[in-house]
Symmetry: C2
């Protein structure tokens, strides 16, 4: 198929990730022939401008995927579980941004810079899964270190932004902060977070599991192992929402088979694809989510080797969760699938 | 000495910790005969109301400690290094809230609920050190677990509030958040934090060391070992400032010699002094710094055992850093010193 004949559908076009995906289509000049913007019946009929053209949002319930080559799904797991297989059966390659199929053994879970090789052939069920926003930076930074040192254990604490809960999450942080500063009465329990996020940190993202870990924490564990191809890897995480609008940060402690060398880690990460190392340079010397210079790169700072345990180290990762954590990774999957003629 | 004849000096009386200490004198009905409020020459002459009486702040440079039984120092390490030994030589028992003497082998570093036994005799140099605000919750929660399971490794990621940088830190967060919400121009680099804290997280607290760890991170490592009396303990930390006004949170991963039992950990911590366990009860089921019900307790939630490594677990700790992390611990040292007739 010629690249310009590409017919694309974006399911969840009115959400935070869908919006970012449309912006990236322009920025990265994805060539396509037809674009369908699809959302729930509630959003159907709205108009959205993408790449200078106006599109009318179509209702998913009535949408026909038979003419579609590539379908991005980012409207939640329930929507993907209900519609993605049907879309794939009608011939679309589905790039699914939810957790619906990530752990399905038939479904490749792809971070192009880490395991893009999986895109050399079309997946048997026509679905490629995009990992969780907190998993992608961890595997992007640790894959090259795993090759050199043999990572055996990862302990992650996250500092995740409101945008991970969508546009309404960002709005809730904004209005909550405003109310708090003007000492208005704030509702103690609100919509998108389990307790108000403004001037607070909330150590619970997604549904609590029987193990006492949340689904978000479980995703980081299971997905990291699957992407790195390391079932034996010890991974554990605490996932925390912080009052930042956009940009996830992660404090990543890791242990390796081989002893670590700080200067060498800096060098390895400087050579890794689309990673920016902050090693004391610049105003702050480390990345922070509010002042992220290039949102299409994984930013790594605070690179340390533990003085009394040279097999252990730390990284501080900051990424634009809507881009690298979701839309950009999905689009890079699409770009690689196109390059490999999978469509 | 009768308790009511106690003569107290508070050095740093105009700061966030000094203010909290004075509030606690009333709340806990500390009986004293005379109180001197001491601060830098810049603050001298100000009046402060404590326990219903008005006091004039005295200048440290001209203050005579010879009539003082108990002197609290919380005006920064430089001030303590310059004045605390002289105050102790003049006869005061100094309770120092800075890092000036914490790692001095002559100086007991005390968390009353953990190693209060050290207060059975007066320290040879007359100084008792109060640990760092991020260390205290870690040793409070892990000491009882160490006795049962033998802790061998601790990995801490902190979520520390603006109040750790004093009243000006809190004000900077407030004005920065206001400016950000009204889209005013915010200075990219400001006074109390290395980059603006509002709607951001800043992975750097206190001075960077040659090791690549910050002094704050190094304090957590060294002080935890000293308080728990465990030189062999592997401790490592990443210390991060978050846009919360008051209340430090910590994600604490730990590994033990013996396999862990979640229900037993809950039971042990419920029985530990002045700890509140949040185990799914209440509106949220876990503690958050903005909605901390009892600021004089260490709050523990998200108690987990790692499914594929039963020797490893997690705790989520939230504490009022001005109280438990500083003023309350100092006052509890004082109460214990008085009870043991050290003055």
């Amino acid at each position: 198929m010629s690249r310009s004949a590409l017919r694309i559908a974006v399911v969840g076009a009115t959400g935070a990730v869908g919006e970012t995906l449309l912006a990236l289509f322009s920025e990265r000049q994805l060539a396509f022939d037809a674009l369908s913007l699809v959302a729930s019946a509630r959003s159907a009929g709205r108009t959205i401008v993408a790449r200078g053209e106006t599109y009318q949002v179509e209702a998913l319930e009535r949408f026909d995927f038979s003419g579609i080559d590539l379908a991005f799904f980012s409207a939640g797991s329930a929507v993907s579980l209900q519609w993605a297989r049907a879309a794939a059966k009608q011939g679309a390659l589905v790039i699914d941004n939810t957790s619906a199929f990530r752990m399905d053994p038939r479904t490749p879970l792809v971070v192009p810079q880490v395991n893009g090789d999986l895109l050399r052939r079309r997946p048997e069920d026509g679905i490629v899964a995009n990992p969780n926003c907190a998993t992608i930076p961890v595997v992007r930074a640790l894959a090259p270190l795993d090759r050199r040192y043999g990572v055996r254990k990862i302990v992650v604490s996250t500092y995740q932004a409101a945008s991970g809960a969508g546009l309404t999450g960002m709005e809730e942080l904004r209005s909550g902060a405003r109310a708090s500063l003007s000492e208005e009465r704030v509702e103690p329990s609100s919509g998108r977070f389990k307790v108000p996020l403004a001037f607070n940190v909330v150590p619970s993202i997604d549904v609590m599991q029987g193990s006492g870990f949340t689904l978000e924490e479980q995703k980081i564990v299971q997905e990291s192992r699957k992407i790195l191809g390391r079932d034996d890897l010890l991974v554990s995480a605490t996932a925390v929402r912080v009052p930042v609008f956009n940009g996830h940060s992660e404090a990543v402690y890791f242990e390796c088979e081989a002893p670590l060398d700080r200067a060498e880690i800096v060098e390895i990460l400087r050579g890794a694809p689309e990673i920016v190392v902050h090693d004391g340079e610049g105003a702050a010397g480390f990345p922070t989510p509010r002042f992220l210079p290039d949102p299409d790169r994984v930013h790594v700072g605070r690179i340390r080797v533990v003085p009394d345990n040279p097999h252990a180290g730390w990284l501080w990762l900051v990424t634009d969760n809507l881009r690298i954590g979701a839309a950009l990774n999905a689009l890079q999957i699409a770009e690689m699938a196109i390059a490999h003629d999978l469509l």
